[in-house]
Symmetry: C2
Amino acid sequence: MQITRQTEYAIRTLIELSKVPLGTILQTRDISQKQDVPEVFLTKTIQLLARAGLVTTQRGSQGGVRLAVSPDKITIADVLTVTEGRLGLNVCLTESGYCPNMNICPVRRVLKRAQEAMLAELKKDTFADLVADPEKEKEKE
Amino acid sequence: MQITRQTEYAIRTLIELSKVPLGTILQTRDISQKQDVPEVFLTKTIQLLARAGLVTTQRGSQGGVRLAVSPDKITIADVLTVTEGRLGLNVCLTESGYCPNMNICPVRRVLKRAQEAMLAELKKDTFADLVADPEKEKEKE
DNA sequence: TTTAACTGGATAAATTATGTCCTATTTGTC
DNA sequence: GACAAATAGGACATAATTTATCCAGTTAAA
């Protein structure tokens, strides 16, 4: 019932990348140090983000990671669907999940609504919002 | 990111208890057979529900479990808070959780909203609703 | 050519969730 | 009072998942 640490690492990575001008390359090592995340493990997380098309990685010297899409196009909901292997409050709500009476199960219906409400909320703020100067954010209100 | 199997067991137990007239005692064994849940494990789950005041257990011959409150006063949200040890999308949202910058963290704020949205949705249907004959439910609309 | 980075597979360690066993304790019934 | 039926609760065992590390590749810049 909690997001995994890996999801948290992914969020922090995207936060770091959203703070710098779009297109800027950061090294995994830098991110791991800034955010206090084990470097080798972070590598794997970044690979997930890369396969999902959220970031682009570049090998070789001077390589690293950069955002593949503008921070105002990414939300925490996107991260969840990438890093949380089986998103879904219950098995019957995951892609591969199956339950003989999933069509009539009232519990499933309630859980589904709850999950959708959660994701809808997560979609309201983009990473651009998350890294925005809180003072400036206030001005918008 | 999923409810545990124990939570599912707890929900199923309450479903069974909500189907019978309020006050009816059922045995753990019966519930475990009807819902296909390992009996000894279910015992533990029921103990959690009992400590939380949702059900009352009675020892001895003719003993068993019965609802401690009317099914229209219990929701899946109640079950979650009982069986999901650390409810909270992230550590910083659990009771014991702490993070040095939890006051200013924008991620925490978004996760908190999402979690509240989820719980709010779960609170909309009571167990009385869940076991209601779907036909009769329609009539109410 | 060397060095700095990511890739990817295998594996290990840690944590959590699930399930079982055994010995109490309580309560109804004969 | 003896017995049987039921939960209580601690200790333990197993399984699954998550987190972390290792190592041998591959890519690209200088």
